[in-house]
């Protein structure tokens, strides 16, 4: 298992749990229990039943006929946009709420940027009747009003993170502070494969249902249980981790990770961590992150709020460093254009995050027999304002 986490919580050089002692009891409790709990029969039964009856899994593996014809290759879309709440995020929050219940927690906190993870967390808390507090940067609260309203509809309290750049990174800091202040009753539902061990591994396991289903679906559709290429966008990296999971050790599968170039790699307004980041510590884990030479974390930029994170999860740092995955970065404009293209060619309005992945079709050539699976990580309803502004609709 070269690309999975080791017993110490590392992916190669990356990972670990660089946390203040105040978090130790929480994180340690989780670390000691997460595998045993999540592999227990009762957990698996409840998890699978909620994924199927509540989330709507399995999500389809959809053969995109018009797109395939145009690019003369075989393009499949793994339809995470059809998940309840509109993105893959809920796979993880379902898993974590069941984990929290079994750990006896009665209060949930989470951070959110675009609001998708906040909505997915508020959703599972409503489902279970558990108190829910969502931290969100003041700026993001303004930018993502509909998701704020959704969280409130769901009964969550949305707390503004006023510090720093008032976006996702700061919301994460605030959530961690809350956890420090409430070490006994509270579980922190992190929204991506980031944070201290065991979070990256735990979140990847919950999201791995994506690649497990993909294997079974490909077997039916293509008579083999693996594709030639798997492509996903990477913010923190959870949807990508989910799509890659069961293919990591299969060398026949080429892995492509797509980051947000923002206004261009060299523009100073970018979120392409693999190109611009250096090894460092963020939110409790050693990984690649964008920072000043002095080690201050820099504010990333992308038109998509979900890719607007200054780091990547440690699994992805390792995939990059080891060259297991190819990293490509796509600028705002190309991503937006692909949002429109996918809408008009396949009738699927993707999240702007998701749209980044598809732009790979203009950057890499694929052959006619190759099978490509894109992770269609989320739907674009949350991004309508941005699309409207951008295209003057």
């Amino acid at each position: 298992m070269k690309y999975q986490v080791d017993e110490k919580g590392f992916y190669g050089d990356f990972g670990g749990a660089y946390i203040p002692e105040m978090l130790y009891p929480n994180v340690e409790e989780l670390r000691q229990n997460y595998i045993q709990i999540s592999e227990s029969e009762s957990f698996q039964k409840e998890f699978k039943s909620l994924l199927s009856d509540y989330v709507g899994r399995p999500t389809p593996l959809y053969f995109a006929e018009r797109l395939s014809k145009k690019y003369n290759t075989k393009i499949y879309l793994k339809r995470e946009d059809l998940c309840h709440t509109g993105a893959h995020k809920v796979n993880n929050t379902i898993g974590q709420i069941l984990m929290a219940q079994r750990l006896g927690k009665n209060r949930i906190i989470a951070e959110t940027g675009a609001g998708q993870h906040g909505v997915a967390t508020a959703t599972v808390c409503a489902l279970m009747g558990i108190e829910c507090i969502i931290y969100m940067g003041t700026l993001d609260i303004q930018r993502q009003a509909p998701n704020v309203a959704r969280m409130k509809m769901l009964g969550a309290k949305v707390r503004a993170a006023e510090s720093g750049s008032k976006t996702l990174k700061d919301a994460t800091n605030e959530a961690i502070r809350d956890w420090i202040n409430n070490p006994v009753d509270t579980h922190y539902i992190i929204g991506s494969v980031v944070g201290p061990h065991p979070y990256p591994d735990m979140v990847a396991r919950f999201q791995s249902v994506i690649s497990a289903e993909t294997q079974a679906q490909l077997l039916k559709k293509e008579n083999r249980d693996y594709p030639d290429h798997i492509i996903a966008c990477v913010g923190g990296g959870s949807n990508a981790a989910g799509l890659y999971y069961h293919f990591l050790e299969n060398p026949r599968v080429n892995i492509i990770a797509v980051e947000a170039a923002g206004k261009g790699i060299d523009s100073g307004k970018s979120a392409a961590t693999s190109a611009l980041g250096k090894e460092g510590i963020i939110h409790g884990s050693k990984t690649l992150l964008m920072q000043t030479p002095d080690g201050q974390i820099t504010e990333p930029y992308s038109i998509s709020a979900g890719l607007d994170y200054p780091g990547v999860g440690p699994m992805h740092a390792h995939l990059f460093r080891s060259q297991r995955a190819e990293f490509i970065s796509i600028p705002d404009k190309e991503a937006m254009d692909w949002g429109l293209t996918l809408s008009q060619m396949e009738g699927i309005i993707p999240a702007i995050e998701t749209a980044h992945a598809f732009a790979v079709l203009d950057v890499r050539k694929f052959s006619r027999e190759e099978v490509i699976v894109f992770n269609c990580s989320g739907r674009g309803d949350k991004d309508l304002e941005t699309y409207i502004d951008h295209f003057k609709l």
Partner: protein
């Protein structure tokens, strides 16, 4: 002998002050240190500002941000401290998050500390286990003490483990919380202070987080070797200025 050990041998109920280097003004580091020493403070934690200080409350977050805006960097701080031992004789501890230290280069950072005369480090997000496995030999080589935190939730076994790896002092976080100001301590905190005292650890304990005035200082030091004031001090100099520092210290003891 490390100045920290020396101080603990000489003094009871140590008073230590934390401030963010570069705040309120970039060049305040030296005047603040002098004023603290002159006012009889026993030890100082100099905060290396970080963009994402996740163990800190609003006051220290703000002072860090301000310090960064003022232009504070690790290089700059070392420059400011270059000849500090000409004037300052009390123990000096650098307190900072791990990432800026990593980026500076850990070995180079240790060298710098040694050459300046820094006595120890507090790195809240460098856990004891990772320190133990990876960095202890290096720190020892440069005669740098590394201080760890414990909290009311830290299990006894782990406290003993931390004690066994500690030098200087154990930073006893007063309650499960980020840094910030509290006006009084409650019964649970006193129970916790007592419980730790009864463990008779090898390393002296200093209480930090939430100490803001004479009352909390007294409560914190009843069962411990000292106390650290951070947020309250920062709020004070923000309002009253660096020149008023003696008033603050007098108000505490």
């Amino acid at each position: 002998m490390n100045r920290i050990d020396e101080t603990f041998q000489k003094k009871k109920k140590l008073l230590s002050i934390y401030f963010s280097a570069g705040h309120p003004e970039l060049e305040d580091t030296f005047p603040i240190l002098c004023a603290l020493q002159d006012s009889g403070v026993d030890m100082v934690e100099i905060g290396l500002p970080f963009s994402d200080p996740l163990a800190d409350g609003p006051t220290i977050q703000k002072s860090s941000t301000r310090a960064l805006l003022n232009g504070m960097t690790t290089e700059k701080l070392f420059d400011q401290l270059q000849n500090i031992r000409d004037s300052i004789h009390i123990p000096l501890v650098l307190m900072g998050y791990f990432n800026p230290i990593m980026q500076f280069g850990i070995k180079r950072f240790c060298e710098k500390c040694l050459s300046i005369g820094i006595d120890g480090l507090i790195i809240p997000d460098l856990p004891v286990d990772i320190y133990h496995q990876k960095y202890k030999p290096l720190f020892d080589q440069y005669n740098l003490y590394n201080m760890f935190l414990i909290t009311p939730q830290t299990p006894e076994e782990r406290i003993r483990y931390i004690d066994s790896l500690s030098s200087g002092f154990i930073y006893m976080v007063s309650s499960a919380s980020v840094t910030g100001v509290q006006n009084t301590f409650g019964n649970t905190q006193e129970d916790y202070f007592k419980r730790i005292a009864q463990m008779k650890l090898n390393t002296p304990q200093v209480v930090g987080f939430g100490i803001s005035n004479a009352e909390t200082y007294r409560a914190a030091t009843r069962f411990s070797s000292g106390a650290i004031i951070g947020s309250a001090f920062i709020q004070f100099i923000e309002k009253k200025g660096v020149s008023a520092i003696p008033d603050f210290i007098k108000s505490i003891r």
